[in-house]
């Protein structure tokens, strides 16, 4: 029994079919609970008013936008090294979810930024690097869509994902250097906050607890969506194989 058994599509389909409903239900419950708790059961912030509640969507979406790319990177590496098709298809399935998360983060950020900073958009390092991440996603998905042969497409997108990751990180620090920002630093998860040595502002517990619920919900939501899309990709692949076989039979 090893993890690599799930590289077998049959095994993957059986197991993912069994666990998917659980993930989907848990994701729905936690996301709804976190967001509803955040929206209706937390007090308004003394400075930010009701707008602070955007955090319950903005922060989890931004977190998943980056983690989706990290997952695609891992899947691409697995495909390049061990050539498991499920891995390549999972990377392909994760990209649209990641791009949706990036868009959600950008839009909720704009809605939040308008009353807080007085502007919809600023060329701030975090905002800018997210916009660039969005472009990376678009290029990655376009390359997948443009290539006919599935193995070639998987290979080339993996290479792009590896190179793109390096450049995404470079861009992140480049834009940091390029301009100083409005966006606050990390204030939810910080090493110092755990040890108590941290004296800077951090999100108070009233907001942090529902935020963690919402984050957990988004993680599960991501897993559920990627599983679902990977299953669809495998089925599409099977249909194509069946069609090809039928054509062979006719000829």
């Amino acid at each position: 029994m090893s993890l690599w058994e799930y590289a077998n599509p049959v095994k993957f389909m059986a197991t993912s079919g069994r666990v998917l409903p659980w993930f989907a239900v848990a994701a729905g419950l936690l996301t709804l609970a976190g967001v509803a708790w955040g929206f209706f059961a937390t007090p308004e912030d003394y400075r930010q008013g009701a707008t602070v509640k955007i955090i319950f969507i903005h922060v989890p979406a931004a977190m998943m936008a980056i983690n989706a790319w990290a997952m695609m990177l891992v899947c691409s590496l697995i495909w390049v090294v061990r050539r498991h098709h499920v891995s390549a298809l999972a990377a392909r399935a994760a990209a649209p979810v990641g791009v949706a998360m990036t868009l959600i983060a950008l839009f909720t950020g704009a809605i939040w930024g308008q009353p807080m900073w007085g502007t919809w958009w600023a060329w701030d390092p975090r905002l800018t690097s997210f916009l660039i991440l969005f472009l990376f996603y678009l290029g990655y998905m376009a390359l997948w869509a443009a290539i006919e042969d599935p193995d070639t497409a998987a290979d080339l997108t993996s290479v792009l994902c590896l190179v793109g990751s390096v450049f995404a990180i470079l861009s992140r620090y480049a834009v940091n250097f390029w301009t100083q920002g409005l966006h606050q630093g990390a204030s939810v998860l910080r090493a110092g906050a755990v040890t108590g040595s941290d004296t800077e502002e951090k999100v108070s517990n009233v907001y942090a607890v529902p935020l963690f619920v919402s984050m957990a919900g988004f993680v599960l939501l991501f897993i559920a969506l990627v599983l679902m899309r990977t299953r669809t990709e495998i089925r599409v692949r099977r249909i194509k194989a069946l069609e090809a076989r039928a054509r062979m039979g006719d000829a």
């Binding site: 290539i147 861009s171 480049a174």
Partner: protein
Amino acid sequence: MRALLVRDLRLAVRAGGGFGLALAFFLIVVVLVPFAVGPQPEVLGEIAAGVLWIGALLACLLSLDRIFALDFEDGSLELLASAPVPLEGVAAVKALAHWLVTGLPLVLAAPVLGVLLHLPGPGFVWLTVSLAVGTPALSVIGCFGAALTVGLKRGGLLLSLIVLPLYVPVLIFGAEVARRGAEGLAVGTPLALLGGLAAGAVALLPFAAAAAIRINLR
């Protein structure tokens, strides 16, 4: 490999493709800018460094799909892949040829066009330096993008979508050097970062490009 370089350069010059075209495009971009933002010298002077960098980047982008496409169509790319030179070397030479044909003329032309945009005096040196350091990185990143999309029928647009995000760090540091130079500030840090980035790209991306070509020829 030297034969390949000479061949590529000859093809570029004689086949009437990239050589003058990128330069002409660069000129056109620079001419269009004052029409769009107005001809006041102080406004133009402020944005000159950035505009020249953008123009150089777009001009470079324009000729990228020619790096491998023609060789792929007539089959000579397969010959090159089976030739007794490493494919990484072929990719590096192709990028070098692209730089000599498009990058170098842009570097040389940039100061002249800087005059048109009222670039402040100390900016000329640093603009040239930043382009000289940065354009090789643009060529080699573009060479990787071209290798990724070489087998596609309409790869040009896709190529720019893939390559432009990769150009972001080079553009940031390059334009920063030029802008700080034009304002008379210290340029050491961004120049060092730009140099490191270019060196890293030149050292590593030919391998990625060769891998992409191998996949495309399979």
